[in-house]
């Protein structure tokens, strides 16, 4: 099959799709979310039917499918009603009606953006693997598409058990991505750590879910929200959920897997890990722990504040000492997620909205940084800081983009992270001044390590002993960066677009717990 034929097919496909999508969104009662989950799955199945010789076709089909999913998820946004406090696009199907378990989907203003973020990152990851992945190409694409579907499902499900299923299902493709396409022999250890940390935490959550199921007779979130659990039980459940989500966030004692996994994963793996996976934990706190166990949430708030403050300061200080580019970004992720947790548990509208915004911003900025590292690594096959220097002389375009994301990481006004961190600190200040002050030091330290990193890598003199070939980023790479840059700036300059849609939902969560 020649490439022009492939291109024509793709064009035809794209020409038809908007009409189709529009109809789907605006025809009432269409299970749009279900379609959204099914599209990547069907795409993944389709990839198996393509003979393995036609690698180009596999790549193109995967890219088109993931882009289509992205566009479709944007339609989700278009059809979203920001003024409604209810879950939207509700869909319910029989799963095990005998056990009163249903396949329930629905989104609100919180989950909407996470879905869009994950569908955005997947095509970028596919492009990342366009030339750097050389073995098991089909499997790579399939893993990414399945991951795509599972992430949409995990953010849109309204059933606890289903949430658990998707939450764990994400592990399989991610484990494979780290293990198979990772860079060094240590990747196996990293993959194990990633899998076991998460699995260990979440089986405890499974027990809690089953206890709740036993008590309430259902795992439907909307019904469980009307159930009141006794305080002891709440504390027990909260701890079980905490075990699962904290490993995912990652909170400080169980964060060891993250730098390992980031360093060993291929760039796409790091992008997805930093962009989406970490948000699963915080999303879980926001969606399940906080509304379901309000008393336990209040009970544990000081505990979480403590852990988060340690995370912010300790992880930032650790970052300064790192020599591996990816590790630096990984530890800075730990710090940022600490700030996110502070915002969530400030339990007021500013804090929570800020932390959502920070999650989204971090979901754009840190993938951007990982991709920058990936660009360097693809060229020079090393990630150690000391080999780099004076990159600005040889790769000016790259240096600009890198600067932009570094600024984003610091939280400079005008970028998404600024808005998020500002709101988080505002919210935090209302509940606990000391915590807000401690959290704010994280920003200072963030400035320190980010700028220092940028300084070491980009400025100074080139080190011709180590770096003796030069190539700026190519067109494919540039277009991978574009959506992230746009998103970062947009969120920084006019965040109201995003905030507008989440006001009602956040207020819902907070009022539900009557915090």
């Amino acid at each position: 099959m020649n490439s022009s034929y492939i291109n024509n097919m793709s064009l035809a496909f794209w020409a038809v799709s908007p009409v189709f999508l529009y109809n789907m969104v605006y025809s009432p009662n269409s299970p749009f979310l279900l379609y959204l989950i099914l599209v990547p799955l069907v795409g993944a199945l389709a990839l198996f039917l393509i003979p393995s010789e036609s690698i180009q076709l596999i790549k193109v089909v995967a890219l088109n499918v993931s882009l289509f999913t992205y566009i479709a998820s944007l339609f989700l946004w278009i059809g979203f009603d920001a003024s409604s406090p209810n879950f939207q696009y509700l869909y319910q199907a029989d799963w095990m009606p005998y056990g009163n378990l249903y396949f329930t989907l629905g989104i609100d203003g919180i989950s909407l953006f996470f879905i869009i973020l994950s569908t955005l990152l997947v095509p970028i990851c596919i492009m990342l693997g366009w030339s750097s992945i050389t073995i098991y190409i089909r499997e790579y694409m399939v893993a990414l598409l399945i991951l795509d579907a599972m992430m949409i499902a995990v953010f849109s499900t309204l059933d606890l058990l289903l949430f658990y299923v998707c939450f764990e299902a994400v592990l399989i493709p991610m484990f494979v991505i780290i293990g198979v396409w990772g860079s060094r022999a240590r990747r196996i250890r990293a993959a194990y750590q990633f899998f076991l940390y998460t699995f260990f935490g979440s089986v405890l959550m499974l027990l809690a879910i089953l206890m709740m199921y036993f008590q309430a007779g259902t795992t439907d979130l909307q019904i469980l929200l009307t159930t009141e659990f006794s305080t002891q039980r709440q504390i027990l459940y909260f701890l079980a959920f905490f075990a699962s989500f904290a490993a995912k966030v990652p909170m400080i004692p169980v964060h060891i897997w993250l730098p390992e996994a980031h360093v060993e994963a291929p760039t796409a793996g790091s992008v997805l890990l930093a962009g989406i996976m970490l948000k699963l934990g915080t999303y879980g706190f926001l969606r399940f722990s906080m509304p379901l166990f309000p008393e336990a949430t209040l009970y544990f708030t000081p505990f979480i504040y403590t852990l988060s403050c340690i995370a912010v300061i300790y992880a930032s200080l650790t970052t300064v000492r790192q020599v591996d580019l990816k590790k630096i970004i990984a530890y800075s992720s730990v710090a940022h997620m600490g700030v996110v947790m502070l915002g969530l548990f400030s339990l007021n509208a500013q804090g929570v909205e800020g932390s959502i915004l920070l999650m989204l911003g971090h979901g754009l900025v840190s993938p951007g940084l990982f991709m920058c590292v990936g660009v360097l690594y693809d060229r020079y096959k090393t990630r150690l800081v000391k080999y780099y220097g004076g990159v600005v002389h040889t790769m000016p375009l790259f240096a600009t983009i890198f600067l932009l994301f570094t600024m984003g990481n610091i939280g400079l006004p005008g970028t998404s992270n600024f808005v998020g961190e500002f709101l988080v600190l505002t919210g935090c200040y209302q509940t606990n001044t000391l915590i807000a002050a401690l959290g704010a030091t994280g920003m200072v330290l963030g400035g320190a390590y980010s700028l220092w990193l940028y300084n070491r890598v980009v400025y100074g003199f080139p080190k011709p002993h180590y770096i003796n070939t030069y190539a700026d980023i190519n067109r494919r790479e540039f277009f991978m960066f574009v959506p992230l840059i746009i998103g970062t700036l947009w969120m920084g300059i006019y965040p109201e677009v995003f905030l507008h849609d989440m006001h009602v939902s956040v207020a819902n969560v907070i009022q539900h717990g009557s915090y």
């Binding site: 299923v165 076991l196 699995f199």
Partner: protein, 496 residues
């Protein structure tokens, strides 16, 4: 002396079993008569005839005129419970025979008796499941074990196989002895061997506060005898050796059918005969369940031999199934049967793949590292195996999760918190060695070279079917759950 009218309809109900016995006799004669034919052809031939007879027996079973009946002077009982288990036994029998063709050919085991023995042991298990009386139970168990000892040793020129057969024989005889001793104690203290009589006798037994140590000891012995047969820890010592030594198809057979049949029978005895003295046996089952889960998880960590690994994994799985048994509720039984069916599917897939891959010098794979590089040479097979391993570890959304979550749920709802917690933790530990297998498949780049293997048609179908169950069960698990529920209800209808 009009006792003949007692058995008027019994033969009608026993049609599948009778048919199978006849078929076995016929096939034995057939084997003797045509044994002059070219070497492997007649083994295959007998095999297909065995499949045919098992299939016909399945048809007879499904179209049986009677669904619920006590027969043979109250020694057998047929109901939906037995129907379900028997149907599965027949299906597994067919599957195992399908798996063996290629293997027997490659290993040059030209023995038609192997096929006939599979047929006979299936028959014995049909009897076993239906038995409703301690004597009938013991006889059927003996029948089954004897057939198993022989097929374990069937690879005569391998020392391992002989050792396996011998070990299985000794420990099997030992456990049968325990079983018999227990039954005789029960008989001695109650004067009856019939399960429903026992149930009547025990009504409200625990509240009567009668000293009945002998009865408890008898019950204990019966349960221990069965747990021996199930290879539940701490009575599991024989199983890794036997699994390793037996020919691989036989290992598959051992991993599948006896678990199903023995567990079904144990469930029946404990639930029907001894439900009113649940306290003592629940403790035994609980302890064994705990021990098996832990032993299965930890014992497998150090294994390098695939079959030993699978043996430990099956010990662990038995532990999970016993969890359902220990819960003592309808849901527990249901969860156990759901688990069993899913376990059967996963085991089929695993063994099909282990059977079909061969090392460079055309030997069957023996060690885990023999599988490395398989993702290059047989990508689809490797992926199937990897996903099956994930499923065995209980990672959603694969079928293994489906069964586990329901088991944990029933354990929690019966307040067996230690079981649930240990079960969950040991599933994390066991995921470690399943992951190691996946690691070997995908991440290791050793110099082991495989040739591309194309599965023979029989195994390919089997593998595809069972993998389909593993993969897609989560989409619509309803029928399985409902059928198992019906089974559990049929069993509990026997409890007065």
């Amino acid at each position: 002396m009009d006792y003949l009218s007692l058995f008027e309809n019994d033969f009608l109900v026993l049609m599948p079993e009778i048919f199978l016995v006849y078929a076995a006799c016929f096939l034995l004669m057939y084997g003797v008569l045509v044994s002059g034919a070219p070497e492997h052809a007649y083994v295959t031939n007998t095999g297909f005839l065995v499949i045919l007879s098992l299939g016909l027996a399945l048809l007879l079973l499904i179209n049986g005129p009677v669904t619920d009946m006590l027969l043979m002077y109250n020694t057998l009982k047929v109901d939906y419970f037995t129907f379900y288990v028997q149907a599965w036994i027949l299906i597994i029998g067919i599957g195992v025979v399908l798996m063996s063709f290629d293997y027997l050919k490659r290993e040059k085991m030209h023995m038609y008796e192997y096929m006939v023995l599979v047929l006979l042991s299936c028959t014995s298990m049909l009897f076993m499941v239906a038995s409703y009386d301690l004597i009938a139970m013991y006889l059927a168990v003996e029948f089954q074990s004897l057939a198993f000892y022989v097929i374990a040793a069937s690879q005569r020129d391998s020392e391992f196989s002989t050792e396996a057969g011998l070990k299985y024989f000794f420990l099997g005889a030992f456990s049968s002895g325990i079983l018999l001793f227990g039954s005789s104690l029960v008989y001695g203290y109650t004067g009856t061997t019939n399960l429903s009589d026992l149930a009547t006798l025990y009504t409200g037994f625990e509240s009567l506060n009668v000293a009945s140590g002998g009865l408890y000891v008898g019950l204990m012995f019966v349960s221990v005898g069965f747990l021996f047969k199930l290879a539940a820890a701490p009575f599991h010592m024989w199983s890794p050796d036997v699994y390793q030594g037996s020919p691989t198809t036989v290992t598959a057979f051992f991993a599948l059918t006896p678990k199903l049949a023995v567990l079904a029978l144990l469930t029946k005895i404990l639930y029907v005969g001894f439900y009113d003295i649940m306290g003592p046996w629940q403790k035994v089952v609980m302890v064994c369940s705990l021990a098996s889960m832990v032993v299965g998880a930890i014992g497998a960590l150090g294994q390098t031999n695939i079959k030993r690994l699978l043996a430990y994994s099956s010990i662990g799985h038995v532990g999970y199934m016993l969890m359902g048994l220990a819960s003592g509720s309808v849901e527990g039984i249901q969860a156990m049967f759901v688990y069993m069916v899913i376990y059967v599917a996963m085991t089929f897939t695993t063994f099909c793949i282990v059977l079909s891959v061969r090392t460079a010098d055309n030997k069957p794979v023996e060690y885990i590292h023999d599988l490395s590089h398989m993702s290059r040479s047989n990508p689809i097979l490797a992926m199937t195996l990897a996903l099956t391993m994930f499923s065995m570890a209980g990672v959603p959304p694969l079928a293994g999760f489906c069964s586990k979550f329901y088991l944990f749920f029933t354990a929690l709802s019966s307040s067996l918190y230690p079981l649930a917690v240990v079960g969950v933790l040991s599933s994390v530990v066991s995921s470690f060695y399943y992951l190691r297998l996946i690691k070997t498949l995908y991440f290791d780049h050793t110099n082991t070279v495989h040739s591309y293997v194309s599965l023979d048609t029989e195994k390919a179908w089997l593998c595809a079917l069972s993998f389909g169950v593993t993969m897609f069960l989560i989409m619509y698990p309803n029928p399985l759950f409902l059928a198992s529920h019906k089974v559990a209800l049929a069993l509990c209808a026997l409890i007065r």
